[in-house]
Subunit: 386 residues, 2 copies
């Protein structure tokens, strides 16, 4: 049910013709209220796509009534004309729904640097408005796919208050990013919550999920995570519970993205423990997650722990080189910066790989997630636009 | 002639048996003087291999009489025992040549985290000492290859003072690094120069050559560049000329490394112009050079300039997004942050690709070099240790 699992939401997904394949490419999510509180987080890339610039403005008042999303074109690096296209898209949705354009968020994904075919897009938006339904969440999730091989949705219900629900859809199998992993995510809830609460919830949830996924180190120009509350349940959850539910659906989507990352054969959990600070642990985890040589080795089922240490050594985190321990799938292959147990004991045949790096410099611990680097990744990304 | 092109040097390269292939794997370079002035630069990785730790100490007095190098094992992440192995290697060279161990630099390259078979190595060193010859430079260059498909050497002679020469050998087709690209380089000269002059020369030469090559973003634990002066010509060159000659051989080696980078099909020059500072230009160039998505696109001959902008946007350099220009092989595909000339005009069929990024924020300009990301790279690095 995706984003329409919570009460108060309708959605649709249609094939407008933006994708040469003819697959669905325009999604619409509408919040019928009674509340229209919303919040979001966006890419930290300084090159921000037109829909990101637009949606940041639209969210400034903490309110959103609708989100229109398209695949088949990112509308990034398209200049003032591209921004005007986004504005026109929002106006078209607003006209169809009887809203103001400032109530409409816009998200786009696809190739950078190409204008969208606006006639095609707007015709699709018209059809999406007509198709809106309280059961349309799955269609919407389908329409935001690019190279994703499957649609990605997640739903959680409150355990303390039956009938209060959080739903989500996401896309992202490429450009999973160092500081905000997801291309596009829309999270909905029928809980009652004000914009400030939603803002804290979406930031915290992203911080511990999407921001700890780094599939290929490349930060997108379009990354957007939106959280919309309809308040249709009439229930205000404790903030910690709401935040927890949002984090759960975000974590679920993040794991789906890792499982579907372009060309990947491995999902790799890099747990950094014994760190002096959370930022140290994150820096070390990301450095390991971005090391192409390690990612190739893991693709080849090679427990090349030396490449882990080489990646740790490029960071500014607190540690002493002769105190580092590294385990792979439970085998401590590196002890005190030197060879430990026999590397041949490590079995890397499963998709899931666990790497544990102990810095022996403090008490902080976290996990950063990545994928292996494969010829399939190279193929998908060398042929993507052609 | 490599490192023995300048007067006052002998060298050798032998097959000790460290490599399963049976190819040459131990090299020795000896400076017969009269001077023994030397300088070096090393990896900035905090995880430094035993030979790097040793050679930094040996160079502390600005003097070196010999450099012993082995392929077939990096002796990195090997703990105190690995350091003792490096020490023993230096002692063995010193005993064979009648020197102190502190006069002997040691360099190693190969797999990380594995001890060297010392009996095999020391027997090879003994044979290398016996084989030393004034014509041995090419043999030495051959013996430091790992996945390099060809040996890499360069020689330049002074144009102002005939008979004064700089020679060099290098290896490095993998782990070309963000802050010091080369695995191992030895540069020799028969000019008269003190250690302080050599130190300035090798730092400046590295800064504008190896430190601007970033083949795969992975910083090695073993990177070493050494510069030895025999003074055998009796001539003291102007410092600027000496530095220029050293930079020329370093640039020559860097280009050979780029041309031989693992699995690469493209050598990519990323020129950043209009930067507010050299550090801004370098940050932008490296960010573009490390973008896996762009590197895949260029492998696929796809002029995906949006990925260039996405990489620029992750930096802290001074620029305005709506003022960025990007050209690819002379076609200005991005103007003022938006589409410029038709991307289909860009011909990416040659090995060499030139990308020009104009930040319009100042007057600084420099070029960072990288390679494409290919299935060949993935193959070589997923199978390297197996």
């Amino acid at each position: 049910m995706s984003v329409t699992a919570p009460k108060g939401f309708r959605a649709a997904g249609v094939a407008a013709g933006l994708k040469p394949s003819g697959r669905p490419d325009v999604a619409l999510v509408v919040n019928d209220g009674p509340s229209d509180a919303a919040a979001g987080v966006f890419t930290r890339n300084r090159i921000q796509a037109a829909p990101v610039l637009w949606t940041r403005q639209a969210l400034a008042d903490g309110r959103l009534r609708a989100v229109v999303l398209n695949s088949g074109g990112a509308n990034a690096c398209t200049g003032p004309a591209g921004f005007a296209d986004t504005h026109a898209t929002a106006e078209h949705v607003a006209a169809g729904l009887g809203l103001g354009a400032g109530d409409v968020a816009v998200c786009s994904t696809g190739l950078i640097g190409v204008r969208l075919p606006m006639d095609t897009l707007l015709a699709g938006v018209t059809r999406a408005v007509a198709d809106l339904a309280g059961t349309g969440g799955d269609d919407a999730a389908e329409a935001i796919r690019t190279t994703d091989t499957v649609a990605k949705t997640a739903v959680r219900s409150s355990t303390t208050t039956p009938g209060v629900t959080v739903g989500a859809m996401g896309k992202g199998a490429a450009m999973l990013a160092p500081s905000l992993a997801t291309m596009l995510v829309v999270v909905t809830t029928d809980a009652v919550a004000d914009a400030a609460t939603l803002d804290r919830a979406v930031r915290q949830a992203s911080r511990v999920t999407f921001e700890r996924v780094d599939s290929d180190g490349c930060l997108s120009t379009n990354d957007t995570v939106l959280l919309l509350a309809s308040g249709a349940s009439g229930v205000t959850l404790p903030e910690a519970e709401l935040t927890g539910l949002v984090a759960e659906v975000c974590d679920d989507l993040a794991q789906q993205m890792l499982g579907d990352a372009e060309g990947s054969t491995k999902t790799i959990a890099i747990t950094v423990t014994g760190a002096a600070s959370e930022s140290d642990a994150l820096e070390v985890g990301r450095s390991v997650a971005r090391n192409n040589l390690l990612k190739c080795a893991l693709y080849g089922k090679d427990p090349n722990w030396g490449r882990v240490l080489a990646a740790v050594g490029t960071t500014q985190a607190a540690f002493e080189p002769d105190q580092l321990d590294v385990s792979m799938n439970g085998v401590q292959v590196c002890r005190a910066g030197a060879p430990g147990e026999d590397r041949d004991l490590v079995d890397l045949s499963d998709r899931r790989i666990d790497i544990l790096v102990d810095l022996h410099a403090g008490a902080e611990e976290l996990t950063v997630w990545t994928n292996d680097l494969t010829d399939g990744y190279v193929y998908e990304n060398s042929a993507y636009s052609t």
